[in-house]
Symmetry: C2
Subunit: 103 residues, 2 copies
DNA sequence: ACTATCCGTTAGAAATCACTTACGGTTAGT
DNA sequence: ACTAACCGTAAGTGATTTCTAACGGATAGT
């Protein structure tokens, strides 16, 4: 679970990113999330499934409602990917700039 | 150019991520990139277009070849997005953990 | 028990995406 | 000029995605 494909694909959808960012503000139930979005509740449910399989959110049953909250695993994996390339990417860009200034 | 949608959507495709990660190792022409991938050259060309519009790569004409290289704008935007939520996400998760231990 | 609320899943439709093939334009070399 | 190499774009196709509507299961309250 939570490979890079799932991770980036999950965050690629705008609605899904909106759901995720909303959950960072605090846990919420499916209905609450759907109320603030222009899509139906089942759609939100499906988005949450994708986010969950990517390791970005987790859920907990609370009565008849399911409370979703942030799962740090996903963001951690994303940060790890970014950190892996951040330094090298900047170095590569610098090298590119230098080559550009020698005719 | 380079809004979050384009950014995440660009990195969502595995082939596109492969192209991008290859370019971090150093600039390369389209044909070179295609040679190391299981897709055709036009496909790589289309992927590069998406990456370019997302601000992740840039190109420079060099003879008949177009040399693509990393553009730090894209990764910078990604890092900015991540930094914006990183602290809050961890805090939200911590708060969630505490609520879990009080029945 | 009965009812209302909340939710996940399924099925199907419309839209989007990634790919190949074919084509045309530009540059370097002879 | 002519040729060869390199590349972007257009057109078309099959697969994937996102959505809604409909259904069924589980829980809380009366």
């Amino acid at each position: 679970m939570a490979n890079q494909n799932q991770l980036f694909a999950a965050l690629a959808d705008p609605t899904r990113r909106q759901v995720f960012e909303r959950l960072i503000a605090g846990p919420a139930a499916v209905g609450e999330l759907a109320r603030g979005l222009p899509v139906s509740r089942p759609a939100v449910s499906q988005h949450l499934k994708v986010l969950k399989e990517a390791g970005l959110v987790a859920d907990r049953a609370h009565g008849t409602r399911r409370i979703y909250h942030i799962d740090p695993h996903g963001l951690g994996a994303l940060r790890a990917w970014l950190d892996q390339f951040w330094g090298n990417a900047l170095a590569a860009f610098q090298a590119e700039l230098e080559k550009e200034q020698e005719p």
